[in-house]
Symmetry: C2
Subunit: 226 residues, 2 copies
């Protein structure tokens, strides 16, 4: 059941096109998950070949967004949707923008892996933290793709709690960088500052999409709570 | 002449509402420019009072985006626009998202000023670079607001060239952080890494809006050239 599913009785060509857009968004989420997984493996390796693959794959994500947005706007023009259909299409544009930015984060991580290769930018003391950040990111995007498919609001709300785990890891990372005993030099401080931000921003966008799913289903934002 | 100006002969209630949305976007750009100016002054001071002011003012920018987007979607629902009118409204949603993110960058800079206060996060050797980044940002947003008003495509294209200046300053900043002789410690490396990124991202969003103006006027993106 894709994001923009309607009861069979209401189904028509328009809603089938809406469904297709929902399916494409879910496919995009899976592409982004793969890109983030590969980026994490590339920077932890370090693995230059994998880094190059992530960098090249970002074009596919960008193209997917352009294609999706063109279809969405075309559908708006042809069908003049109102109420919840219009809301769905506008939300689709916003979700694709969030997913495209998440893909950019994978691209940035892979570029850091490439620029420091054959060295590894991550110091030994932070390997576990970055592994954890990669793991949490994977789980968040996996849950997000499932929420986009099932519109399960309980799980949508869970994503904000999962992101608290990312924020905690990010704070730990920052504490290590800022500690007096830091002796990894400023290049590593620079790399780890950005790397932490890439993971944190990626998951922020996932939370943002989970809020949009909530909005699509209920017609309102749960802004305070999650 | 606001962004979404139409010849008088075509004017009607719909186009007046479009014009109003264009005017609100321009007003939002001016708010963002002021926020970035104040954030730069706050972090260079350091000036705690000014930092608090920028942090509080970010809510006003966020609210302006919500209000603008609500009006834009309402207009879509009531008027079922097609072709260039639909394109204008969709582009308006994207511009307001860019402007909101630019406001976030001012907010981040002000928060860095506040957290390090009464110390100044910027080391003496980077004061001039940050002053320059603040100046370039001001000029880019000022030009952007004017481009949104006049739809002057030559000036829209200039904004990408102005952003090259920001990229150059950003590279200079990174070179200082990464230099062997860096002796400011990892906290300052952390702060300067993020600060550089905030200015760079803010101007990236301005370039993105200038491309959207180009798209609105011509119906196509000049993706390669700028």
């Amino acid at each position: 059941m894709p994001t923009f599913h309607y009861p069979r009785s209401m189904r028509n060509a328009f809603h089938e096109e809406l469904d297709d857009i929902g399916l494409s968004l879910i496919a995009m989420a899976h592409l982004v998950k793969k890109a983030m997984d590969d980026a994490t493996a590339a920077i932890l390796g370090p693995d230059l070949e994998l880094a190059e693959k992530v960098i090249a794959a970002d074009d596919a994500i960008d193209n997917m967004q352009h294609d999706l947005d063109a279809r969405t706007i075309d559908l708006m023009a042809r069908q003049s949707p109102v109420a919840s259909d219009l809301r769905t299409l506008v939300t689709s544009l916003r979700m694709s923008a969030d997913l495209e930015r998440m893909g950019d984060m994978a691209h940035h991580i892979a570029k850091q892996a490439r620029i420091r290769y054959p060295n590894r930018s991550i110091p030994t003391g932070l390997v576990k933290t970055i592994q954890e950040m990669g793991r949490v990111t994977h789980e968040i995007i996996e849950k997000l793709a499932s929420v986009m498919e099932t519109q399960d609001l309980d799980r949508a709300i869970e994503i904000a709690a999962d992101d608290d785990e990312m924020d905690k890891l990010h704070r730990e990372l920052i504490a290590v960088i800022l500690a007096d005993k830091w002796d990894e030099g400023s290049e590593t401080a620079f790399d780890m500052t950005l790397l932490g931000r890439y993971y944190e921003r990626c998951c922020d966008h996932a939370v943002s999409i989970s809020r949009r799913v909530y909005f699509l289903v209920t017609g309102e934002y749960r802004k305070e709570e999650f």
